[in-house]
């Protein structure tokens, strides 16, 4: 496992480097600078601002300077939220996004695996069809529809849960469910397909022939193998959850990193934008590595050499 991690490291750093480069130049390609306002600022002041934020000089030296700072862990100053560093903003907002994303991650995987298993062991029954229809529905309705509907029903009509905001655990429930639903649906479908395939394999037939009870066969023998496609999906799932959290944070007024990300695009706040993207990607890369490593542990048949 350690060997796998060490072997993957150079490629991972290369990916991260590409991400930083791509973001830096894409932001610079956009027309309009970070200090363009309705009223034109005097050129002398603009030059000073550019110097303060190290946005002067040739593009190439700006880039190498930025790269050096990022390697040192300094994501620089936000050009919009004056005098606040990107590190500071991320330190405040990332925990919020992770609390939301983490809870949704648990809900989506646990819910999806359970629903998929539930449907697979009841293959072709009414319960199976109903579960799969629900999964298809969950997959087809966008989060920003589910969110407001949940708010309308549980927040405004029933008044069981708060409408939005952040701070109490109750405020976490609706957003986390909203974010988890489509991915729980994806996992449920993956799980059902995979479990049905495994239940047809010889070792399951052997286990049944030995006279093991149905529960043991499904939960101890089959599930362990059938869960592998779900494990492969965990990496993309984390990426989808981070993207989805942008919408959910907007719908529920949650002060996470998503809102800052959207605003940083609109404000041409390059360093804040870069900071969010770099941190997101770095975390996802590490997470994917862990998933790959755990995959090797889970399934001894697969040697992960590449």
């Amino acid at each position: 496992m350690l060997k796998l991690i060490i072997r993957r490291l150079p490629a991972l750093f290369f990916v991260l480097f590409c991400v930083i480069t791509l973001t830096f130049f894409l932001v610079r390609l956009a027309p309009g600078g970070p200090f363009d306002r309705e009223r034109k600022i005097p050129p002398a002041i603009e030059a000073q601002l550019l110097a303060k934020y190290q946005l002067d000089g040739p593009l190439w030296s700006q880039f190498t300077g930025y790269l050096a700072d990022v390697v040192r862990g300094d994501l620089r100053l936000s050009t919009k939220y004056r005098n606040r560093s990107v590190n500071e903003i991320l330190a405040q907002t990332l925990p919020v996004t992770f609390a939301l994303g983490g809870l949704s991650f648990l809900l989506a995987t646990a819910g999806g695996v359970w629903l998929g298993t539930f449907a697979a062991v009841r293959r072709d029954s009414a319960a199976d069809r109903l579960t799969m229809a629900a999964a298809l529905l969950g997959l087809s309705i966008p989060m920003f529809v589910v969110g407001p509907i949940l708010v309308l029903v549980f927040g405004l009509w029933l008044k069981w849960l708060p409408v939005g905001g952040w701070g109490s655990p109750a405020q976490l429930i609706l957003p986390a469910i909203t974010l988890a639903i489509p991915f729980a649906a994806v996992i449920a479908r993956l799980m059902r397909t995979s479990l049905l395939e495994v239940l047809n394999q010889d070792f399951v037939r052997t286990a049944r022939a030995k006279g093991l009870p149905d529960r043991t066969v499904v939960y101890k023998h089959a599930l362990r193998v059938a869960i592998l496609p779900v494990v492969t999906y965990l990496g993309p799932l984390a990426a989808h959850l981070l993207t989805g959290s942008i919408v959910v944070e907007t719908v529920f007024n949650i002060p996470g990193a998503g809102g800052f990300f959207v605003n940083s695009i609109l404000n041409r706040d390059g360093f804040l934008l870069g900071g969010v993207v770099i941190v997101y990607c770095a975390l996802l890369i590490v997470f994917n590595l862990l998933v790959d490593a755990s995959y090797a542990l889970l399934d001894r048949r697969i040697r992960v050499d590449a």
Partner: protein
């Protein structure tokens, strides 16, 4: 192509017939519906936030515009983006998958590793940055050439290309898997020993054989692209007003849900139309896939 009996077998299920019906109705309404409205329905009017009535079956919005008209306009853009984006992804994904699968070995390994990496990166986030970086340039470019259509539709064109650029991964994986299995078959070996060029083998022998599976995944890519587009527009970073897509209509609708006064029709009708369309597309795609590949 698909066997002749396949379509009939799928359509035997009532749910499949309903899905197909929904798609036909939505597509037809999006194509011709907006033209049927009198001018007074299209422009902002004095009737703000009118609830659904006979005159305005879907109600009116903040500016007094008819919501049904807006939903159909949105359907037009969402469907166009979905179809065209899926077409872009179809070309990219099948070309990539064909090359990787046919080349095999180290090239295949490297190409599929790249797909894995792109899978694990938050792609939509890059699309957001990309769109905002290039929209202005494309508009300048269009202005210089005096292409009026591109100026007003620059966002849509960029959305189609970029969304196609991120949704090709699944297609590439599926196509590659199919090619890996196919290329060991004897008719491919025969073509190779007859000295046919690689290009010809790929286009004449492999492509026709994987066409059915490509069509199936095309049906499943369309809803994915529509969902992506609505995500971007919901955040205000996709389709810009006065144009509308389902995503931007839903953004207005979501804002209208608040403790003081909820204009539910602004959310409900776009949401229902969009969800019904996506559900129908996903359902038909699923059925097609199950029929073609019963093992999955």
């Amino acid at each position: 192509m698909l066997e002749p009996g396949t379509t009939a077998r799928i359509l035997r299920r009532p749910a499949a017939r309903i899905s197909l019906g929904i798609l036909i109705v939505v597509a037809a309404a999006a194509a011709i519906g907006p033209e049927l409205f009198p001018l007074s329905y299209r422009e902002p009017g004095p009737l703000q936030y009118a609830p659904p009535s006979w005159q305005h079956p879907f109600g009116t919005d903040l500016n007094g515009r008819d919501v049904l008209y807006r939903v159909l306009l949105g359907a037009r853009i969402s469907l166009i983006v979905g179809l065209a984006g899926a077409a872009v992804s179809l070309f990219l994904g099948s070309a990539y998958g064909l090359i990787a699968g046919y080349a095999g070995g180290k090239i295949d390994n490297a190409m599929m590793r790249l797909v894995d990496i792109i899978y694990s990166v938050p792609r939509l986030i890059f699309i957001l940055i990309f769109i905002n970086a290039f929209d202005g340039h494309v508009r300048d470019f269009a202005a210089r050439l005096d292409w009026q259509w591109l100026i007003s539709y620059s966002r849509i064109v960029i959305l189609i290309i970029t969304l196609g650029l991120i949704e090709w991964l699944t297609m590439a994986r599926i196509v590659r898997g199919q090619v890996l299995a196919l290329k060991e078959r004897s008719f491919i070996h025969a073509a190779q020993s007859l000295g046919q060029s690689h290009l010809k083998i790929i286009t004449r022998h492999l492509l026709p054989n994987i066409l059915p599976i490509i069509i199936v995944y095309l049906t499943l890519t369309v809803p994915a692209v529509i969902l992506d587009e609505s995500f971007l527009s919901f955040l205000g970073l996709g389709i810009q007003p006065p144009q509308a897509s389902w995503g931007s209509l839903l953004a207005e609708g979501a804002q209208s849900i608040n403790p003081l006064k909820s204009y539910w029709w602004l959310l409900f009708f776009p949401a229902a139309t969009m969800s019904a369309t996506l559900l129908a597309l996903n359902y038909l795609g699923d059925r097609l896939r199950d029929t073609l590949d019963p093992r999955r």
